[in-house]
């Protein structure tokens, strides 16, 4: 970081801490979080990650596990997919074309950029292969490029689906392929105007017939106008054969990752909630995505807590809003979710892994780790456990920021790190 910008961020931070909230407060996590009253000082709290290289350091994983960087020097890796033959695909890119509408947007974008990588997004899929199974991914090759900020990945029935920021596309895939046979076929266009929240998350039903795409809102809380929120903040269900689509669930501010629960086939999501209501509002959450339901955004949060910033209000929608299943804590920025398998070991056999990119709108940063939410009888049960930490060190420096998490059927967790431009693999020690 340049000295001048250090000074800017520092002075901002000092200014802000004067009007921010409590120095530290317990993050309400779990199925029934206790929510404080909304609060906001004259300026929003901002604490931006101070990036440094990993060097010899690595993320910390639980006893009995090891972590290795299986690919480095990527160009903003976000989500990963394990193919049937064990190859790993990595979606790389950065999207969004949101105009800066207010002086605030100009200033905030400069400050937030300090906490992100300076690398240009790859707009491509990279394939990683460990042919001999020794844990070293010796092959790293471009599977497909010239994509438009690819993010969500899914595979079924010999078809590889990629959710670009403007369209859902499909590649034909044969086992062992290392390069796409040609440009992809468009399944359907996706809402792409502005793309304030540009990531399009993706999951596919086990029978390969229905695709689910998470589409984020076009603002924090309608500050770009209600008109640009048509077809935003929702999950679409898309017919794989025809591209026909319909809203599956709505009012989900930014559903950044989707996954299917093994067995039940239920769609689950992690959702990033709204900012600038204080350090402990509004909790980001993990939830089963219930068909036809409305989850509150923009009119209310966590059920019927009205957000007066969204005007004109809609009392009927507020009344209809349902509560999500499980709070992950406010501002953690959950960007990845995947169900675990018994091969991850007894303690981590039943539940989901969640990648937390880390906060900006909080004096005392949270997130910057991968957690495990234990399940029981198909529902989240109990306190979350830290699984991979150390992305933000005790020295206050940030070495990595987790995004997508993918469980490898061989019994490993793949973590995409979009600050260090690295893909990590956590394995159980033999």
């Amino acid at each position: 970081m340049k000295p001048s910008s250090t000074l800017t961020v520092l002075s901002m931070a000092m200014l802000l801490s004067a009007c921010g909230g409590e120095a530290d407060s317990t993050q309400a996590r779990g199925p029934d979080p206790k929510l404080p009253e909304p609060q906001r000082g004259l300026l929003p709290s901002m604490k931006i990650a101070e990036p440094v290289a990993w060097g010899e350091q690595k993320p910390t994983v639980p006893e009995g596990f090891s972590i290795t960087a299986i690919a480095t020097d990527l160009r903003i890796p976000r989500q990963t997919l394990v193919l049937p033959n064990g190859d790993i695909l990595v979606a790389e890119g950065r999207g969004g074309s949101a105009a800066k509408l207010k002086p605030k947007d100009v200033i905030a974008s400069v400050i937030k950029a300090e906490g992100n990588t300076k690398v240009k997004g790859g707009n491509r899929l990279t394939l990683l292969r460990d042919a001999d199974g020794d844990g070293t991914y010796e092959l790293k090759t471009v599977f497909a490029d010239n994509l438009n900020a690819p993010y969500g990945l899914a595979f079924a029935d010999g078809k590889l689906y990629v959710a670009n920021q403007d369209a859902l596309v499909r590649f034909d895939y044969e086992d062992g392929q290392t390069k796409a046979g040609g440009p992809p076929t468009t399944v359907t266009e996706l809402p792409a105007a502005i793309n304030h929240h540009w990531t399009k998350s993706l999951a596919i039903s086990p029978d390969g017939r229905s695709l689910y795409v998470g589409i984020g809102s076009n603002s924090n809380i309608t500050e770009r106008g209600m008109e640009v929120e048509i077809d935003r903040a929702m999950v679409w269900q898309i017919d794989a054969a025809t591209g026909a689509h319909k809203p599956y669930a709505t009012g989900l501010r930014n559903p950044t990752a989707l996954t299917i629960q093994p067995g039940s086939g239920q769609v689950w999501a992690v959702v990033n909630e709204r900012d600038e209501l204080g350090p402990d509002l509004v909790p980001d959450y993990l939830t089963s995505v219930r068909e036809g339901e409305f989850y509150g955004w923009p009119y209310s949060y966590w059920g019927q807590n009205v957000d007066t910033r969204a005007q004109p209000q809609n009392p009927a929608k507020v009344a209809a809003a349902i509560k999500p299943d499980y709070s992950l804590g406010s501002h953690v920025a959950a960007l990845g979710v995947d169900f675990s398998i018994p091969a991850m070991g007894e303690k981590y056999a039943d539940g989901v892994f969640v990648g937390e990119h880390g906060s900006w709108n909080r004096d005392n940063p949270v997130g910057y780790k991968v957690i495990f939410v234990p399940f029981s009888n198909g529902r989240p049960a109990g306190e979350p456990l830290d699984f991979a930490t150390g992305f933000r060190g005790d020295d206050g420096k940030t070495r990595g920021r987790p995004v997508g998490v993918t469980v490898d059927p061989k019994g490993a967790l793949i973590i995409a790190d979009d600050l260090a431009n690295t893909v990590w693999r956590v394995t159980r020690n033999k």
């Binding site: 509408l101 002086p103 309608t222 106008g225 007066t308 005007q311």
Partner: protein, 142 residues
């Protein structure tokens, strides 16, 4: 009958100083009108206009304040007009800055505090401009 003529010497701002000072009025007034429009229509673009007009008003006001500072330093005596004008501009700018931060809030969070502040700042800009344009200091200027 003897007629006594008192010569009042009035010092008014130069063209640049006057432009900067008077420019604060339409800028802050434009912000106020935009705020009123947003308050009545919920159309967010009015709020965006208000935020930029306030930013422009702060630039004009801030530069005019530098002239006011120079005037204060050169004035003898300093009490009265030069100090009043200087302080009025300072308060206008300070409240304008608070208003800019209010307008950095998202969507309806700007309301109603932003609208109220815009009205106060516009009024202050009018008074300050009136004071500045009529007389910067009385007599004794070099």
């Amino acid at each position: 009958m003897t007629v006594t003529t008192t010569l009042t010497y009035r010092c008014t701002p130069g063209p640049l100083h006057a432009t900067l000072l008077a420019g604060t009025v339409p800028l802050f007034l434009g912000a106020l009108l935009s705020d009123i429009a947003y308050y009545q229509t919920y159309q967010i673009q009015w709020s965006n206009f208000a935020a930029w007009l306030i930013a422009g008003g702060l630039v004009f006001c801030g530069l005019a304040w530098l002239f006011a500072l120079a005037n204060l330093l050169r004035a003898e005596p300093k009490a009265g007009r030069p100090t009043v004008y200087f302080l009025l501009l300072l308060v206008t700018w300070a409240l304008g800055l608070v208003n800019a931060f209010e307008h950095a809030k998202d969507a309806w969070a700007v309301m109603p505090s932003g609208l109220v502040l815009s009205a106060i700042v516009t009024l202050l800009a009018c008074v300050t401009t009136w004071v500045g344009l009529t007389n910067l200091r009385s007599g004794g200027a070099q």
